[in-house]
Symmetry: C2
Subunit: 453 residues, 2 copies
């Protein structure tokens, strides 16, 4: 006998959690479909050569590696083993690993299927990924990503469309959000005017603290990071950037006047904001220079979404990147994408209690089992209920009434149908509403009408 356990950092999903997760994934899926994105799936396992070197040195360590089948050690010389170089060993003993994200498998997919794909390719993908991170609250070793990307199109209309998708998804969820926008080119422009490209992150981190610590302390922090007084002077209007998005863009235009790249970034943002204005979005859009997400990766737009009514990190993010597939031999494919954070959205919906009732409703009615004669009578009745689309159960044993009722109770089944000998003879059903306790003697048709309401 063995006491079973679950792998650290992974989760079982109970029926209720699954119903909620299905609601999230189905909502995202239908919005992606509405905008013409096409779903693909890739295998859980990729060749390690596909994965290694794509996520930095730290990422390589976080890859789950799969031991080759068969007599693995036979391929090793004694000396190789005795060196006990675990990294070198792993590369030779493991040809496969679990996917770490959906982007690299997507890049591989695009390259391998480039002759079947008609570009621009709008794809979405909702699958788990695995990372050998140290498990902690809210960080799992297996979690789901919900990515949508357009590759093979430089048009900024793609950015506009992704913002519409974000707006529509959170609109359907009933989560009020602020969509924050930045542009990598603006950050590059800032780096240019202060003559210190490597300081961009320091600057965004410092600006982010403005509300909390005030301008004086922000400037001190910039100084302590080795930024010259001249540069800090130039940065003042950027640090203090205020007003509407339009006003902010005007300020940036003059501050970044000498940087061609910076002005290009401002122009891109202007385009995106002006198009979204035509669309009457529910969500706020806000230019936010402190967004520096994926800085080594994104080349244009940077997008992050914050929930307004819950204290939690970004619940969706994305941006534009260049050269997705270059490493696999297909240069010149740029793209833009977003990724919904399913785990955090799950938490937000829970905290705000926003799940629609029918999304977590399982069985609608349980028929009590009184024995074989009654069961014979109700089996075809139950069949009719199901053909009408009503999720229906018959308790499989003629157990004590109390046990059957408590089954209905703990499974949150809202109605119980009672057909004993009397009801059978009268060709009626006693329908009990489990919330109100009310009972009604009804025909099968009347029952179905009530349950379909």
């Amino acid at each position: 006998m063995q006491k079973p356990s679950i792998v650290k950092g992974t989760r079982d999903f109970s029926p209720e959690e699954m119903a909620k997760r299905n609601y999230i994934f189905d909502t995202i899926r239908s919005v992606y479909n509405l905008f013409g994105y096409k779903q693909i799936e890739t295998p859980a396992m990729e060749s390690l050569s596909t994965l290694m070197g794509k996520y930095g040195e730290e990422g390589d360590k976080l890859l789950f590696k799969i031991l080759n089948s068969g007599d693995v050690l036979a391929g090793f010389e004694d000396e190789e083993l005795l060196q006990k170089n675990s990294n070198k060993f792993a590369v030779k003993a493991c040809e496969k690993g679990l996917r770490y994200d959906l982007t690299v498998p997507f890049a591989r997919y695009v390259v391998m299927h480039r002759n079947e794909i008609s570009f621009p390719f709008k794809r979405y993908q909702i699958q788990p990924v695995w990372r050998a991170d140290r498990p902690q609250k809210g960080r799992y070793r297996e979690f789901f990503q919900c990515d949508a990307d357009v590759v093979g199109s430089d048009s900024l209309l793609n950015e506009v469309e992704l913002i519409q998708i974000i707006n529509e998804v959170f609109g359907r969820f009933g989560i009020r959000v602020s969509i924050k926008l930045n542009n990598r080119k603006i950050l590059s422009g800032i780096a240019e005017i202060i003559g210190a490209p490597e300081k961009v992150v320091d600057i965004t981190v410092a600006i982010d603290k403005l509300d909390k610590i005030g301008l004086e302390k922000v400037n001190e922090e910039l100084q302590s990071k080795g930024i010259s007084q001249d540069a800090i002077d130039k940065l003042q209007p950027i640090i203090l950037l205020e007003g509407t998005n339009k006003q902010k863009l005007e300020t940036l235009k003059s501050s970044l006047a000498v940087s061609e790249t910076g002005l290009k970034g401002v122009e891109e943002l202007e385009f995106i904001l002006s198009k979204t204005e035509l669309l009457d979005l529910k969500s706020d859009l806000e230019l936010d220079l402190t967004l520096a997400r994926g800085l080594n990766y994104y080349t244009g737009a940077i997008i992050e979404v914050k929930a307004l009514d819950v204290q939690i990190g970004s619940i969706t993010g994305g941006g534009r990147y260049d050269n997705l597939t270059g490493i696999f031999g297909l240069p010149g494919v740029s793209g833009v994408g977003i990724s919904f954070g399913a785990d955090r959205i799950f938490d937000v919906l829970n905290q705000l209690d926003l799940y629609p009732k029918d999304s977590v409703q399982g069985t609608k009615v349980l028929f009590v089992n009184f024995g074989e004669a009654e069961a014979d009578y109700i089996l075809p009745v139950i069949n009719r209920f199901r053909l009408s689309g009503i999720s229906t159960e018959l308790y499989p044993e003629s157990a004590k009434m109390k046990k059957q009722m408590s089954y209905a109770d703990s499974n949150n089944i809202p109605y119980v149908a009672i057909v004993g000998e009397d009801e059978k003879n009268a060709q009626k059903i006693m329908l009990k509403n489990m919330h109100t306790g009310e009972q009604q003697l009804l025909s099968a048709d009347e029952c179905i009408n009530i349950l379909l309401r």
Copy 2:
């Protein structure tokens, strides 16, 4: 630069394949829901100790094992490594493996969550599993299982319900099937009357050949397997079993008269068949003694489903088993379950061309992009289309008309909407049907009505 490849035995799923697979999974999922089954999911990775020893020696070899993170070799003595015992090494260097089926993880789930579960527990689970099998046509290293099981109830009404589910799922698919039934207890009864329990599989294999090789050769084969003439004589009515299910059961009743177990099996089958008769099922039910699927595993009903119009192996199977969770310390939990073979159903639906058109329909209409002024005009129009539930795309660049039309073509988009300067000024849309080539000048509302048809 690196030429990317996919792991042997695994597959990418293209948008069209995904649409078809979603149709299959969504259909199965909604029927499971209709019958009150609840979905769960378990992690891809399980502790190797949970998996090892559950699938026989061969199964242990087919488990994908995940190398522990960190400095794996540091935990080994030199001598241990130099023994080069790969099996022993793997057990120590790998704590985790990928799930091999959905049954063992389900058993672990039931044991770990037994205090939250209200039995009988009707669960379903649709997830991939992984096996390090030699890849070959139709056999993959990653494939999906769609299991439903009821645990904690001995009632044969569960078997009846699972047969209804099979009937309903294949009815929705439009696949004509024969549902074949057997019972492990009948096979045990046969073993009993010939006094050779270990020969049961030989007997079912020989009976299976009756149509092809005739009675004489079947008897010869039984003889060659070491079955006595006396036993073969007793087997004759069973080998030649014919007629309706009722007639077959009568024959079995007299042949197995001396075997209490055998008669119990006949009685169980009688019960199941008599209840399904109340239900007006579309599928044929057939008692088939050659079903010996999972013989070491099943203890009661054995179920297999054959497609009538396609030559292919069993497309669904299942049965009743005892003591699912005993190995994890929770004895006395019996269950009964079925598993739909998604990959084979995919093939059958393809061969019979049974996918409903709207299940593979992606984008309904593509708006041609004529440049910024026209785009500004149509962006809100497109928004209205989408709010009406019409999957709509705007080509992201104002590329040549030919290129945009060919995009619609290769993505099977049935309608193209053309709004150039003239249409814009007239506030009209030129809607082109890509199948007929027909064009109509319409208002946005008229367009929406046509596209929603």
